[in-house]
Amino acid sequence: MVTDWFTGDGDDFRLLGTRCSACASVFFPREDGHCRNPACGGGELAEVPLSRRGRVWSYTDSRYRPPSPYVSDPELPWEPYALIAVELESERIVVLGQAVPGITVSDLTVGMEVEVVPGVLGEDAETTWITWHWRPTGVTA
C-alpha cells in the first residue's frame, strides 16, 4: 500500500525517507520528485533510513472507530489504539504513527523515548498489511 516507506525485520526495521544530496533536507513520507526546500537548487533525492529511536512530541488516541479507508472489522468491538507523534533528533522531524497494541495513553508521556518496530495494520483473507508502530523503549513483546 505504501511502497518503500519502511524496510527490514526485527531490530533491523527502519522507516525509509529520502535525503537531498544538495541541501541534506530529509523527507518522510519519501519525496522522490523535487527537493521542497525553496532555498535549494535541487539535488538527487536518495533513499535514507531514519533513526530507530526518538522522543514523544505528543500523543492521543481514537476512542471511536475511524471511517473508511481505515480498515477494521465492524463485527468486532472497537479497540482504541494510541497515536504517537515522535521527534527524531538527528533528522529534526516529527513522525506520526500508531503505538504497538497494548500501549495506551496512560503508558505515555511527552519526552519519553520510543523506538520504531514493525506491526500489523490489518488483514483480510488475502492480505496482511504491515506498518510501523512506535513502542516505548524497554517494553518488549
Binding site: T60, D61, P66, S72, I93
Partner: protein
C-alpha cells in the same frame, strides 16, 4: 497598506442539521445579505462562491450554482476551494476584483450540508493523497490531531482539561445569545467532563460538530458605498491568505510528518502566527488595537492556541488569558462572541464568511445581547487543510 472595501451586507441561514441541499442555505444567506445591503441581485456585478466538495458536482462550481439559483443575470463569476479557508479566500477574490476595478459590488456566498460524524476523504484508492493516507495508514481522524495539540499544550504549558472545558463554557454561553447558532444552550464544565472521550485528552464537548449552514456578504468599493448612501460602512482593511514557510515544524492536518529542520533552521514564527501577522501588517494595526476576534475553535484547546498566535498574549499564556476572563464578553478582548464553531459546528465553505458576518454586526453595534461594547476593530482567523490559513481584519 491597501485600500478598504466596504461590507454593505451580511446574511446567514441558521446553522443546524436541516437535511436540505447546500444551494438552499447559500441562496437564503445571499438573499439576506442583499436585503441587508439594500440591493437587488441584479445590481451585483460579480459573484464568488466558496465551494463544497460534498454537495456533488454543483459544489465544484459554487459561484455559478448560486448565480443560477438566484436567477441568471450575467454577473462575473468565480468559485474558490480551499477547505476550511474557502470562505476567506472567496472574500479575498471578491476584494481583489473590487480593488482592481473589475467589479463595484460583489456577492460572496458559502454553504454546506455536512455529513454526520467524522469528516473523511473522498472515495477510491488514492495512494498519492495525504488525506487518504492518514486515514488508511494511521486511522488519524481530525480529532486525533486536535488531541495531539491539546496534549502538547498540557505538557509544555501546564494547560488542564478543565481549562479546555472553560472555553466551551464561554462559547456556549455566547452561542446561546446568537439566533444563527446551532447550539443555543449553556454548557457547564461538569457536562464537558461527563461527555465521552473522543481523542484523549479531548471529549465530545471539546470538539466542534459538523453542521449545515450558509453565510454571505455583499462587498463593494468605498466609492460605490458612498454613492449608495453608506457613508460609514464596516470596512475590510486586510485579508491574509498565506502558506507556511519551509520547514513547517508543527504537525498539521493531514500530514503524517512535519518538514525536517535538519538542513534549514525553522522560521522565527510558526505558520499559524504568520496568518494573523500578515493581516496586521497589511492593515497597519496591532493586536493591542483589536476589539474582538473570531477564531476557528475546532477544539477548545485550539482556541487557546489562537490567543497566542494572534498575539493576544505570550506563548503558553492562553489558558491564563482565559482564566482572567479577558476573552469573555465584557473582557479586554472577547474571542468568539458569536459562540464560535463550538456553537455553530462546521459548515466548511460558510464558516470563514460567517466569521466576517459576525464582525460586521459587532462593528455596526447590531449584535444584540452578545454585543462587544464599542467594537471598532475585529479580526478573524482560520486554517485550511493542506497548508494555508487566512485572516480578515475589519474596522469601523
Amino acid at each position: 497598506m491597501t485600500a478598504d472595501v466596504a461590507v454593505l451586507g451580511a446574511g446567514m441561514h441558521p446553522w443546524g442539521k436541516w437535511g436540505r441541499g447546500f444551494v438552499e442555505y447559500g441562496t437564503a444567506a445571499a438573499r439576506a445579505a442583499l436585503a441587508d445591503a439594500g440591493l437587488e441581485w441584479r445590481d451585483v456585478g460579480s459573484i464568488v462562491g466558496a465551494d463544497t466538495v460534498r454537495g456533488g458536482y454543483p459544489g465544484y462550481v459554487a459561484g455559478a450554482t448560486f448565480a443560477k439559483a438566484l436567477g441568471w443575470q450575467g454577473a462575473r463569476v468565480a468559485s474558490v476551494y480551499a477547505a476550511c479557508a474557502s470562505g476567506a479566500q472567496a472574500v479575498n477574490a471578491a476584494r481583489a476584483q473590487i480593488l482592481s476595478g473589475l467589479a463595484d459590488v460583489v456577492l460572496v456566498v458559502g454553504a454546506d450540508a455536512a455529513p454526520k460524524g467524522f469528516f473523511r476523504p473522498a472515495g477510491g484508492e488514492r495512494h498519492d493523497d495525504p488525506d487518504w493516507l492518514r486515514f488508511r495508514v494511521l486511522g488519524a481522524t481530525n480529532p486525533t490531531y486536535f488531541g495531539l495539540y491539546a496534549r502538547r499544550r498540557m505538557a509544555l504549558y501546564g494547560d488542564t482539561p478543565e481549562d479546555f472545558a472553560q472555553v466551551k463554557v464561554k462559547n456556549a454561553a455566547l452561542g446561546a445569545l446568537n439566533p444563527y447558532a446551532r447550539y443555543r444552550k449553556r454548557v457547564s464544565a461538569e457536562e464537558v467532563a461527563a461527555s465521552a472521550v473522543v481523542s484523549d485528552p479531548l471529549r465530545l464537548l471539546d470538539i466542534c460538530a459538523t453542521s449545515d449552514g450558509g453565510a454571505a456578504l455583499v462587498l463593494s468599493s468605498m466609492e460605490f458605498a458612498r454613492r449608495h448612501g453608506a457613508a460609514d460602512p464596516v470596512r475590510i482593511r486586510a485579508v491574509s491568505t498565506v502558506t507556511p514557510r519551509y520547514p513547517n515544524t508543527v504537525l498539521d492536518l493531514p500530514d503524517i510528518a512535519t518538514d525536517s529542520a535538519a538542513a534549514v533552521a525553522p522560521p522565527d514564527e510558526t505558520f499559524r502566527a504568520s496568518i494573523a501577522r500578515a493581516a496586521y501588517e497589511e492593515a497597519g494595526v496591532g493586536p493591542e488595537e483589536l476589539s474582538l476576534a473570531e477564531v476557528y475553535d475546532l477544539s477548545t484547546a485550539l482556541e487557546l492556541q489562537w490567543y497566542e498566535d494572534l498575539g493576544l498574549c505570550g506563548e503558553g499564556e492562553g489558558a491564563k488569558l482565559l482564566r482572567e476572563g479577558a476573552t469573555a464578553l465584557g473582557g479586554r478582548i472577547p474571542v468568539n462572541a458569536s459562540g464560535g464553531l463550538a456553537s455553530f459546528g462546521e459548515a466548511v465553505p460558510a464558516q470563514a464568511i460567517a466569521q466576517v458576518c459576525e464582525l460586521t454586526w459587532q462593528l455596526r453595534g447590531d449584535a444584540g445581547d452578545r454585543q462587544v461594547a464599542g467594537a471598532r476593530v475585529g479580526l478573524t482567523a482560520n486554517q485550511g487543510l493542506f497548508g494555508h490559513g487566512s485572516a480578515v481584519l475589519a474596522v469601523r
